[in-house]
């Protein structure tokens, strides 16, 4: 999320521009500290443990999507389909728990248990991601268009599954052996909500893969200069395919958590989530042109957005103003990012 060596480097020298540069580098953290402090003062119950847990649960959904999105954006792509994948995978979970897998030619219905259900849903998410990846790498469709298409297709499929209706009360039945789905959304581990535990685990793996594995290095190389990466022996298409699979997989995790939290699957759930995920990544310093950004930055970015929206709700700010404020925050983040780049270029010259 932050280049520690660079910060030490900067801190060694002094002067107004280096201090400013340090502040700019840490801007997402500072923004998070500021919004937390602000709402702590303005909204009396904001700092209560119960509230912070609720905020974190909201953030977890967006952060999971933003992790996959960060990988995609690092290669210079974009994935607009994640919101729809949340909806579709949630609906598939709902359908599996409500109807099982009917096999008409055998005249039986197979009832997968909860873990099997989740595994199927995650695989479906990865397959939708792979579909995006194939469109982009094999058929040369621009990522924006390919995933926009998938956004509609997946949403339509989610609506078709139930004819637009909700799968309610997804608690399962003991005689079918498929109970326990709500645990994902409501359960805790050592007092910490499971969704947050999942987020922490996924974020740690994702950050590790990005920073310390050959695959991660190749993701940055593809985003930085695709041609040079290809001529260095990087299988560019495989890397690209992989990031869309990761994004689809992350969206499926989020889809499971959303429907588990609601104990119901709604075909419209996840609408416009893709925009929040992009916003979190950008706020965390990910460059839309590819090659620059970190998982840690994205997580902090997701928290800024989450704290901001929940805090404004608690203060009773109207929904319309919330949108205005969120938009301004995102644009300011990018303006500050540009300032940082100009300043560090100047610092390098010195």
């Amino acid at each position: 999320m932050v280049d520690h060596a660079a910060i030490r480097d900067v801190a060694h020298r002094n002067g107004p521009s280096t201090t400013l540069l340090l502040i700019l580098r840490l801007r997402t953290f500072i923004a998070l500290a500021l919004v937390v402090a602000f709402f702590g003062l303005m909204a009396p119950n904001f700092m209560s443990v119960a509230n912070l847990v609720i905020v974190s649960k909201h953030v977890a959904i967006n952060a999971l999507l933003a992790i996959g999105m960060t990988y995609v954006i690092l290669t210079g792509g974009i994935d607009l389909s994640v919101g729809s994948i949340v909806g579709l995978t949630g609906m598939i979970a709902g359908a599996l728990i409500t109807y099982g897998i009917p096999l008409p030619f055998l005249g039986v219905v197979v009832w997968p248990n909860v873990l099997e259900t989740m595994a199927i849903v995650l695989v479906v998410g990865a397959i939708i991601g792979a579909f995006n990846g194939v469109l982009i790498t094999q058929l040369n469709v621009a990522p924006f268009i390919a995933t926009l298409g998938t956004l509609y297709v997946a949403r339509g499929a989610a609506l078709l599954l139930s004819n637009g209706a909700t799968f309610p009360n997804l608690v399962g039945k003991p005689e079918l052996g498929n109970e326990g789905f709500p645990i994902l959304g409501a359960g805790t581990l050592f007092g910490i909500p499971l969704s947050i535990v999942i987020l922490v685990v996924v974020a740690l793996i994702a950050a590790y893969v990005a920073a310390r594995t050959p695959f991660g290095r190749r993701v940055y190389a593809v985003g930085g200069n695709e041609r040079a990466a290809a001529l260095s022996g990087v299988y560019v298409n495989r890397v690209k395919l992989a990031v869309y699979v990761i994004s689809g997989f992350c969206a499926a995790i989020a889809g499971l958590i959303v429907s588990s939290q609601l104990v119901a699957s709604h075909p419209a759930s996840g609408e416009s989530f893709e925009l929040n995920a992009i916003a979190a990544a950008v706020l965390g310093g990910t460059s839309l042109s590819g090659g620059r950004g970190t998982i840690g930055g994205t997580i902090v970015g997701a928290f800024v957005i989450g704290v901001l929206s929940d805090g404004l709700v608690m203060m009773g700010v109207s929904e319309f103003w919330q949108m205005v404020i969120k938009g301004l925050v995102i644009v300011s983040a990018v303006v500050l990012d540009q300032m940082q780049r100009t300043l560090s270029r100047r610092a390098r010259l010195e």
Partner: protein
Amino acid sequence: MTVPDSVAPILSAEKISKIFPGTTALADVDFHVYPNAVNVLIGENGAGKSTLMKILSGVERPTSGRIVMEGREVTFASVRDAASKGIGIVFQELNLCPNLSIAENIFLGHPLTRGGFHLDLARQRSRARALLQRLEHDLDPDTKVGDLRIGQQQIVEIAKALSEDVRILIMDEPTSALSVSEVEVLFRVIDELKRSGVAIVYISHRLEELVRIGDFVTVLRDGRLQASARMDEIDVSWIIRQMLGTSELAARRPVQARAGREILRIEDVCLPRIGGGMTVDHVSLSIHAGEIVGIYGLLGAGRSELFECLFGARPDASGTIVLDGLDISGLSINQRIAKGLFLTPEDRQRDGLVQNLSVGRNMSLSSLGRFTRFGRITTAREGDEVARISRELQVKAPSPHTMITSLSGGNQQKVVIGKSLMTSPKVLLLDEPSRGIDIGAKAEIFRVMRELAEQGLGIIFATSDLKEVAIADRILVMSSGRITLDASSNDATDELLVSASVVGHTAHANNASTSKGSHHG
């Protein structure tokens, strides 16, 4: 040596200094531009040529010093301001919009209008056509610039500069993308401009060009004025001495008597051209370990394409490639690297470097598997290897964590070569390894190539510079996708090379003699 004051300069830059935070790009430089003459400016990369030109064309303001034009002190607030005062510039990097037509590009900064708002397309078109005809290029002004060859785009860039009433025309490396025949056209145009009273300021790395067309020479070194002279009083070795303090490009070595085993065999490699014909036309070759093979050829001869075929970057290529006894024809780039082949591409910025990564990470990009244990990159081992290669190649970078973009061209090239060395190759393909780097770094790159050959590597490099190809043990010439000459370095005279390089294009045949004449080396 000084320039006699018999002619008054049209423009004089006096005691110009330009200080950037932390560096002095120019210190007290005097530069005179004489009318009816080609004023040549020379210096290594980083000597301050580009900065001086940016100041003269209004891109940058000097920190101190003054510019006197025809007896009056002037300042340039912007490129437009300088242009309105009669100074035109053709930048090294093309500044054209590929999505617009030739005419639209030429008149982008000063559109011809009726009533100040309505674009007079007909007039722009006819003016553009006239300008192009003056440059001996009969192109349709409505052609999109993106559809033109690079050489033609360069001509459009020059037409753009000429579209205003220029009295001083600055050309920064105008021939870097031109073919021999296009260079001839450009030189004729320069001659004509000179006679019509325009003062030309000409910057180039190609010394033989400068000697041929220059009238006055100014040499910059480390941001200072090193020397200036009339061209007829000096020669190439004087220029090199002034630039470097030595007159040798690279020590010529006796041809290696001992050639090792055959390490690369190419049979019938072909690459079809879009729209018929062959870009690479049935090329067969045999390369031995410890051998340096230079491929000379003009722009478009098919050298880069041949390298790309060998490296697996051209899926539509055919033919057999045998590397050290192993047929690698059907393999991917990644697999070919693993078997011991590597290509250092011609266009470093576009194909060689990943600009957002550090020096070390660029260098290790092709060898990540070697440092990976249980799926994790062992950064300590990666760092050791980067340090070893950097030492070997004498890469001048503050640290392996330095961003690749803050290095000079020569050091960036060393990083790309370092990336290939880290994969322990058996055969290295180097496409224009000295492109865009200064003479000092060139000599170092050639020294490295010689050392690698002595270690038993097969080295093939492509160049369009006759002097450079002379460092090879064996010289091949390519023309129109074919090998037209294969000779030992001892037997290959400049005349032989030049005539072989135009085999197959009759239109260019008569240029062979002129290029020969221009070559002083």
